[in-house]
């Protein structure tokens, strides 16, 4: 089984970014502020966290990561102006599967979803990939909404 250079680069960058974000959230002061705001915004505000700035920063960070992801995907896929929406749907499924708020969860779920998409696409039907995601999502929401690594 051979992988193209693009695929290896994409994987390496994703792993590096994932680790970086995880370390950022868990080992830095701002990361702690973000986690506090996520848990209890009003209390975090009372503890001296600038909630507005934290939220704005998170949105920007998310945009940054999405931009990198888009660049990586563009190495292998044709690009068009509407590609964001379809990938947002996939991203939402990944995040829900991994557990909202858990970076390792999103990572694991991303790999799972990636494998599922290849399996369904090659063994069954490309078109059915999204319906399969939704089937997984429905089962998940019925038995364990917290996700794989989410906190209950």
């Amino acid at each position: 089984m051979s992988f193209s250079v693009n695929q290896i680069i994409a994987f390496a960058v994703s792993v590096a970014l994932g680790v970086a974000v995880y370390l950022f959230l868990n080992r830095t002061r701002l990361g702690r502020a973000i986690r506090a705001t996520a848990e209890e915004p009003s209390t975090a505000g009372l503890m001296g966290v600038n909630v507005k700035m934290v939220l704005a920063f998170c949105f920007g960070l998310g945009a940054l990561l999405a931009g990198v992801a888009g660049t990586l995907i563009s190495l292998r896929t044709p690009v068009d102006t509407n590609m964001g929406f379809g990938n947002t749907v996939i991203a939402l499924v990944v995040v829900t599967l991994g557990g909202l708020g858990s970076v390792p969860g999103s990572f694991v779920a991303g790999i799972v979803i990636g494998i599922v998409s290849r399996l369904v696409g090659n063994l069954w039907e490309m078109v059915l990939v999204i319906p399969v995601y939704y089937a997984i999502l429905m089962v998940l929401l019925l038995i364990r909404p917290a996700g794989i690594l989410g906190k209950k």
């Binding site: 929406f85 379809g86 947002t88 749907v89 939402l92 499924v93 995040v95 829900t96 909202l100 039907e125 078109v127 059915l128 990939v129 999204i130 319906p131 995601y133 939704y134 999502l137 429905m138 929401l141 019925l142 909404p145």
Partner: protein, 315 residues
């Protein structure tokens, strides 16, 4: 209020007598947006659960219409689709509305894409066909049907708002935990009213289909019909029952008329307008009304006092 309503209905009913076919179609589209915006706001406005599903239910109506057009009369198709949309919404609600938080929004976000892919699969792989042409229906008939649907939607929303379920929905939007403690069966209320709102969206899709003439999965299931009603409802203002109507009327008219002149740029204009509205008019256009009333009162008071200068001492 009732007088205004009767006036409005009379206006629409007599519309075809003095306007062209194009204008009739524009009015039908505006009424479609009214139905979508009002039925979206019925659930999402009160409860705060952001639903991005209107396009999915609307799309079902659009897609199923040509499927059934040779087997059933048009009004029956509307009823069948309404039931279908209701059942689907029940399903979606039962899976996601049991849970609080953003799972509902996440699920409905991609629902349109799901319907699009599924319908493509069923038609292309299992049925070996793609896309259907709709039978022609006279545009005046479509106008009247859409008017009837809009009236039905508005009446339903009006009576729900006045009933205890309207209060239940609002209480869920205010503080769901408190509502649950007050005895509101939050899950049931959410699921049922989400499903009710889907009925009107599906019916609107059936009535819109003949105007588009060619329906395939891409035409029927576009996210445009999810975002537009939301923009319209927010722009019009969700505090008041008529807010979405105002927003839908304005935006619907703009969409039809500007699209030809500006093409791609009209969406840019919409985006800017939405940003402006959220920044400066969070209560929408309807929210402007109390502010304007207050300002008007101030101006009138000043005019009345006129010559008499302020003689009151500030104690």
């Amino acid at each position: 209020m009732v007088g205004l309503f009767v006036l409005f209905v009379a206006f629409v009913v007599t519309f075809p007598l003095y306007t062209t076919g194009y204008d009739v179609r524009v009015l039908t589209t505006i009424l479609m947006y009214v139905v979508l915006a009002v039925s979206w706001a019925m659930f999402s406005g009160s409860t705060g659960y952001m639903s991005l599903a209107p396009a999915a239910f609307f799309g079902i109506g659009m897609y199923i219409m040509p499927v059934l057009q040779n087997s059933l009369p048009f009004p029956v198709i509307i009823i069948v689709v309404a039931l279908l949309a209701f059942v689907l919404a029940l399903l979606v609600g039962l899976v996601t509305l049991r849970l609080r938080g953003i799972y509902f929004a996440i699920f409905t976000f991609g629902l349109v894409v799901l319907m699009s892919e599924l319908s493509y699969y069923i038609d292309a792989r299992l049925g070996h066909s793609r896309g259907r042409f709709t039978i022609g229906v006279d545009e005046n008939v479509l106008l009247y049907l859409m008017l009837a649907l809009a009236v039905a939607t508005l009446l339903t929303v009006y009576f729900i708002r006045r009933s205890r379920y309207g209060l239940a929905l609002l209480s869920i939007g205010g503080n769901e935990e408190a509502a649950a403690h007050m005895g509101v069966n939050t899950t049931n209320v959410k699921v049922i009213f989400f499903a009710i709102s889907a009925i009107f969206m599906g019916a609107a899709g059936v009535i819109t289909a003949p105007a588009l003439m060619y329906i395939d999965n891409r035409v029927a299931f576009t996210t445009f019909y999810s975002f537009m009603p939301i923009v319209m409802a927010i722009f019009g203002g969700m505090g008041h029952f008529l807010g979405p109507v105002v927003g839908a009327a304005i935006f619907g008219y703009l969409e039809k008329t500007l699209r030809d002149q500006l093409q791609a740029y009209f969406m840019l204009g919409f985006g800017i307008m939405l940003a402006v509205v959220i920044l400066f008019l969070p209560n929408g256009l309807v929210g402007l009304a109390p502010t304007l009333q207050g300002k008007l009162r101030e101006v009138m008071a000043k005019l009345r006092k006129g010559g008499r200068t302020e003689q009151h001492a500030n104690t």
